[in-house]
Amino acid sequence: MHTLSAINNNTKEEIDSRKREIRKKALKIRARNLILQIFLAIIIFGLWEFLADRQIIDKFFFSSPLEILLHIADWFQNGTSQGPLYVHFIVTFEETILSFVIGVALGVIGGYLLGRNEILSVIFGPYIQMLNALPRVVLAPIFILWLGLGMPSKVALGVTLTFFVVFFNAFQGVREVDKNLVNNARLLGANKRQLARHVIIPSALTWILSSLHSSFGFALVGAVVGEFIGATKGLGFLISQAQGAFDTAGVFAGMVLLSVTALAANWAVGKLEKRFIAWRFVRQ
């Protein structure tokens, strides 16, 4: 006891200085990583700008970073040829969110039901495999025929894309629940509902949440592809209009806006993940 307190007294300052040192080191590493990342962007875009400026590559086909930026700024200030930018942005965003939410909900419910129920999975299994094997983008024209040029057709396409990703993950997650844990809960007195709530859903949640990243991407693909094929609003529509007018900078500008959206969504899903499976991220 005596020696312990002596050690504590002696090294209090030392501990503080060591802490500072460790923190400094961590900060240095983070700064270095950030600098390297920015450096890569500068090289790529600088080279692109340089080549386009010197007319080594054709500006008509490749545009240039500066031109794209100016195009976006122009869209923000003066609106696009198809009305103000935010309208298109909101439409695409709304379609994406809607198809994401519906697709995830259906996927989780379907995966859970089929994962838990042997008979259902036997009956539906082969048909789901068949539908999944179909490249679902080909459904876009039929949805537009059925549901018109508006939002519903894009949402339907997005849902068919997201559903399968989430479905298979939820199914697998429900199937992969540790058998011992299920048995343990049953012995402790869990009924069917309690078993789902305390064991199966939390266990499957890791699988489901990891599928959300890719399924959000699919929701976006559904919205944009739907807009390509037939729409009156949306970022996909803007891109296809720009393509029709041989406006390369416009196409790239639409792409940049889309990727920014996807990045933001990815970040939000990451937050969601941390919130729901907090136990995974707690460290000593």
């Binding site: 011992n180 048995n183 343990n184 012995l187 007195g189 305390h198 064991v199 939390p202």
Partner: protein
């Protein structure tokens, strides 16, 4: 109960017919059965009290007191078969007859793959036997065993729940309200020596501590049967001895029967009242049944040097060795 209902029906019937004589005989009959039931209940209660008195006697005579108590688990002619993917029938267990008394600590040893864990899942009610019957407290086991809890070889604790949520789960599932369940859980967490770790998640704990969580989680529901499936085999030797001693200490304060599966004969002898040897699989059956008359309380680490322990070990090992050799020959032959 059945008799009672029948007689009531009879009474009604005879009432309509108007046969007064039959009516009165039936009435007396049902009265008799009621009285009989009351006498039985009183008997039962007295027996229970006697039981309690036995349990409060000094620890070292406890085993003697337990030796002739009523059975808790009975396996009668139990066989278990599976259908192999190739279409053949694979017999895991054949004609197992085994009785575990109330409050008895019974270990099952046997070579790997002989069906020890299958026996356990039959008693727990995860699976049902192909042939034979399993009786728990004289009642036929149907579905999950409601008075048992199990400590598994791998993980018991739910990784998405904190220690206190894990421990209190059994009570919460049975409808206890949260605060009461937490209070009880805190008590058990202290008993297993995890005070201060209530808010931790299982992956933040060491293997030994997770086993403690598992123990608290199963014991909080006060199971009358504690099933243990190689519970300590993943622990290092020192932690293992510590946990074994603690298990014995806690067990001696309850009246639970323990069904302990292990491949470690020393562990089995050190802990148990009885050691049952299973023969090598497939179609394993009970080969030997040994009483362990070592005094209690025991220290698991020290009892190994007791001459009586060594004699028992030699005796049982003679039995077990042959089975291990057979099992080994099987695995080599298959490769």
């Amino acid at each position: 109960m059945q008799l009672h209902f029948n007689s009531v029906g009879f009474i009604a019937k005879t009432f309509f017919i108007g046969n007064n004589e039959l009516f009165s005989t039936m009435y007396t009959l049902s009265l008799c059965s009621t009285i009989l039931k009351i006498v039985n209940a009183i008997n039962q209660k007295m027996q229970d009290r006697r039981q309690q008195e036995m349990n409060t006697e000094p620890k070292h005579v406890r085993y003697e007191a337990k030796a002739n108590v009523k059975p808790m688990i009975e396996l009668i002619g139990v066989s278990k078969e599976f259908l192999k993917p190739s279409g053949e029938v694979h017999t895991v267990l054949r004609d197992i007859n085994l009785t575990v008394g109330k409050g008895e600590f019974v270990s099952i040893v046997g070579p790997t793959g002989c069906g020890k864990s299958t026996t356990l899942s039959l008693i727990a009610g995860f699976e049902s036997p192909t042939m034979g019957t399993i009786r728990i407290q004289n009642e036929l086991l149907d579905g999950i065993n409601r008075i048992a809890a199990c400590v598994f070889q791998t993980e018991n604790a739910f990784p998405w729940k904190t220690v206190i949520d894990n421990v209190s789960l059994g009570l919460r599932l049975r409808g206890t309200d949260k605060r009461q369940a937490y209070d009880e859980a805190r008590k058990w967490i202290e008993i297993v020596g995890l005070k201060g770790f209530e808010g931790h998640y299982p992956h933040q704990l060491s293997g030994g501590m997770r086993k403690r969580v598992a123990l608290a989680q199963t014991l909080i529901v006060q199971p009358q049967i504690l099933l243990m499936d190689e519970s300590f085999s993943a622990l290092d030797v020192h932690t293992r001895h510590l946990m074994e001693n603690e298990l014995l200490k806690i067990w001696e304060e309850t009246s639970a029967s323990v069904f302990f599966i292990t491949h470690d004969l020393e562990e089995a002898i050190a802990l148990s009242d009885r050691v049952v040897v299973l023969s090598a699989g497939p179609a394993a059956t009970v080969k030997g049944d040994y009483r362990i008359d070592l005094p209690r309380p025991r220290n698991v680490a020290e009892i190994r040097f007791d001459p009586a322990f060594m004699m028992l070990h030699e005796q049982i090992w003679n039995d077990l060795r042959d089975e291990v050799m057979i099992s080994y020959a099987h695995t080599v032959g298959h490769k």
